[in-house]
Structure formats: C-alpha cells, structure tokens
C-alpha cells in the first residue's frame, strides 16, 4: 500500500536527532511492549509480514504522531484481535471475558533463548526457477497494490541491475495476508542514484534493494 511508512525519498521529516549513549529502552513500558510482541508471536498466529502490515494500517496521522513502541502496541492489539486471542471488550475493560477459554502453554522463560536463537528463517528449500541472473537489466514494476508490499515507491518503474541472487524466499505480499508463502527468487538489485533521483545525485552512488521475482520485469 502507498502508506506513510513508505517514506524513502520524502522531504520535510526534519533533522536526524542523535542521542549519545542512548539506552536500549527509554521507559520500562517500551521494554514490556517489545517483550509482549515477541512473546505473543510465539503462538504462531501471525508472521513477520503480517506484523509489518499491521503497522502500515495505522492511519498516517496517527503513525506520525506515535512513537515507535506506541505503534507496536497498536500492532499487537490489531493482530491479537484478528487472531481471536483477545476480544474488543477485553482490550477495553482490561479483564478477560467471563467464561473465556484459557490457552496454554504460554512461552516459558526457558523457551526464550531457544526461540530467539532460532529466529524465523525466510528462505525455502524448494526448486523454483529464477527469472533473472546477476548482470541482468531489470525494471521494477510500476505496481500500486493496496495490500502489503516491500517494493518501495521510489524504485517503481526504475531501471536496475541484478547484483546477486539470494535464493528462494517467502514472498511478503502474500504471506502478510495469510495467502501462502509463494516462495520465489529474491535478488539484490542495484539502482544508480541518478536513475532514482535525477541529475543532482552523485554519478558514482547507488541504492541496493532486495526485490522478489514478482516485483521485476526484464528491461
């Protein structure tokens, strides 16, 4: 979707504010929000692409107003409601609905390190033909899906070169909507800065994006 999250190349966002010796969390609630998101993910009711899309669905005005971890609260509530893990009434009251089922077992402390150490690899060991190879000229498709996509607006319609074939990976545009993994080749694609931003960009510079087969066409 052409959301506010897709902000590469935008002007007007202000100066970068650097904080020396920045703490990992700026308040305890931020730490709890991070942990709640990760622990709830252990129910495997959603996936990383769905978590990204849940943030993209925050209305633009709210998105810009919220701090990073406030967005994570909104996302956790959205996903938990969607998955039926909580009800709207429970979120509003803060108390379980009378007679609501208790799920078990929740992620245990002993399960934390193994879960984080495993992660969730997105590569898939399946035979899928690659449409392109290193050195091929490609054009990022001019698509504007209303759902989740990892093809930023600033690259759409632009010419690039395949730098590397990463192999076969889950396709976020379908998995985000629980429509299957649709595994396909993922490439590192080089775009000259001038192709993206015009003549004022440095002749030497470039931007590399990781793009899936379905985002690309032969140029």
């Amino acid at each position: 979707m052409n959301g506010i999250h897709d902000m590469g190349g935008m002007h007007g966002m202000g100066a970068i504010e650097y904080e020396a010796r920045e703490p990992v969390f700026h308040a305890r609630w931020e730490a709890r929000v991070l942990a709640l998101n990760l622990a709830m993910g252990a129910w495997h009711k959603w996936n990383i692409d769905a978590t990204r899309h849940a943030i993209e669905l925050i209305p633009a005005r709210e998105y810009l107003r919220m701090s990073y971890y406030e967005r994570w609260i909104a996302r956790l509530v959205t996903l938990s409601l969607q998955a039926g893990l909580v009800s709207r009434a429970e979120v509003e009251s803060g108390r379980p609905d009378p007679g609501s089922a208790k799920l078990s077992p929740a992620l245990a402390p002993s399960g934390v390190e193994p879960m984080l150490g495993r992660g969730a690899p997105a590569n898939r060991d399946v035979a899928v033909a690659a449409s392109f190879k290193a050195g091929d000229k490609v054009r990022a498709r001019n698509i504007h899906p209303i759902g989740h996509t990892r093809l930023p607006r600033y690259a759409r319609g632009r010419l690039g070169t395949i730098a590397r074939d990463h192999g076969v990976y889950v396709f976020p545009d379908s998995r985000a909507h629980f429509l299957g993994e649709n595994p396909q080749h993922l490439y590192s694609v080089r775009f000259a800065a001038r192709e993206l931003w015009g003549e004022t960009a440095s002749r030497r510079d470039s931007v590399y994006l990781d793009l899936w087969d379905d985002y690309l066409e032969r140029a």
Binding site: R21, R118, L211
Partner: protein, 221 residues
C-alpha cells in the same frame, strides 16, 4: 525522530498541549501497557517471567559488542574475513550469534573508495543478532526518508564528509536480508590484538554512519 519520540525521551508522559488538538492527546501509555499485559497474563497468553527474560536478552546480552567482535576478527584473521564475505550468516554463527533478525546476514565492506550505508526505509529492519535493537534515530522518519535520496547529506550530519571520488552504496533493507558494514580498519591499529580492536568498533560504524578511529568515537555503546 518525530515530536512524540522527543517527548518520551524527556521522560514526560504529558502532552504539551500547544501543538496537538485535544483528540490527539494520547492516554497514559504506561498504564495502557500495564493493562494490556495483565489482561494477557490473566488469559494465560504470556508468562511475565518470559517477558523479563526477553528484556534481559536485549538489555544485557545482545548488542553492538557482538558485531564489534565479528569486525575485529575479520580485521585480524584473513581466513575468517573470507568466510564472512562469502557466507556472513555462517561466519557470524561461529560466535553463536544466530536467530531473530539475523537469520540472513550480508556483510558489506568499506574501503577508501567505497562507503556503505544501511537503512530500512519501510520500517526498522536491523541486524539484531550483531547490533542489538536499533537506536531511535535509525527508526525515525528523518533518517528513513533521507538516507536513500541524500546519503552524503546524512553522512555530513553525522560528521562524515566523503570526497566525490568515494562511491556511496546505500542498502535499503527491504527483505529479511540483514546488512552489517565492515568498516575500514583505522590506520595506526596495526599492532593491536583482536580484543583491543573490538573496543574501537562502534555501532554507528557498523551501520555506516561513522568511521572507526583510534580516538574515542562519537558513541561507545
């Protein structure tokens, strides 16, 4: 970062009133999180001790010191560097750094003629296994919007002026590949061992917004 981030940074849960319409005033976030957590505990969906373990991991165990050790070894051991450039995930796993937000690693090497800079314009993708959780500026709209269109201007803001003869490559983390910059080893560090080298390496240098120097860096996490 946006205004709201700044307000939180200064520890104020209050809004300042003058720049927000009343309907934009956020309720007390900390209370909201507490209510959500107790609901999820009561429903048996989370174990508070597991939450503590997750927080402990990212506050005390996983952070940029991991990445610094990887960089120092690459500087000290040519065979290791070769493995790192060929298959970064496997070479980084030699240290036991695996898993969440580091499943698929790529290392990009800075040289006197090539500078690499990492960003995630769409969200906040960042190599947690080697750098820990990202700093606020990395996740903020100013950095995400400008790193791809004006990398040299962004680097200048970080105090890094690159000559026109230096090529700049920006890596926008649009997939599950996670990028770690292998900075240039600083001149004058020839006699230093791996442990001493690791002390020099900063988080910012591994994102690509700084160089590694012998003096105290801008940040030493």
């Amino acid at each position: 970062m946006d205004t709201r981030d700044r307000e939180h940074r200064h520890g104020s849960g209050e809004h300042h009133g003058h720049d927000h319409a009343p309907q934009e005033v956020p309720p007390d976030v900390a209370l909201r999180v507490k209510a959500l957590e107790s609901l999820l505990i009561e429903k048996g969906l989370v174990d508070p001790a597991a939450l503590d373990a997750i927080i402990d991991m990212y506050e005390h165990k996983v952070g940029p010191r991991n990445g610094a050790r990887v960089v120092a070894r690459a500087w000290s051991d040519p065979a290791y560097k070769k493995r790192l450039m060929a298959d970064a995930s496997a070479a980084i796993a030699e240290f036991g750094y695996t898993g969440r937000q580091g499943e698929h690693m790529v290392v990009v090497e800075n040289t006197p003629k090539l500078h690499n800079l990492v960003v995630c314009t769409l969200c906040s993708c960042y190599p947690w296994t080697v750098l820990g959780l990202p700093p606020v500026w990395y996740k903020s709209a100013p950095y995400r919007s400008r790193a791809v269109i004006d990398p040299r201007g962004v680097l200048r803001e970080f105090g890094l002026e690159l000559g026109e003869d230096v090529e700049v490559r920006v890596w926008d983390s649009t997939s599950e590949m996670r990028y770690l910059v292998l900075p240039e080893r600083p001149a004058g560090s020839e006699g230093m061992d791996e442990a001493a080298l690791a002390e020099l390496v900063t988080r910012d240098a591994m994102i690509g917004v700084a160089k590694v120097t012998l003096g105290k860096g801008r940040e030493r996490p």
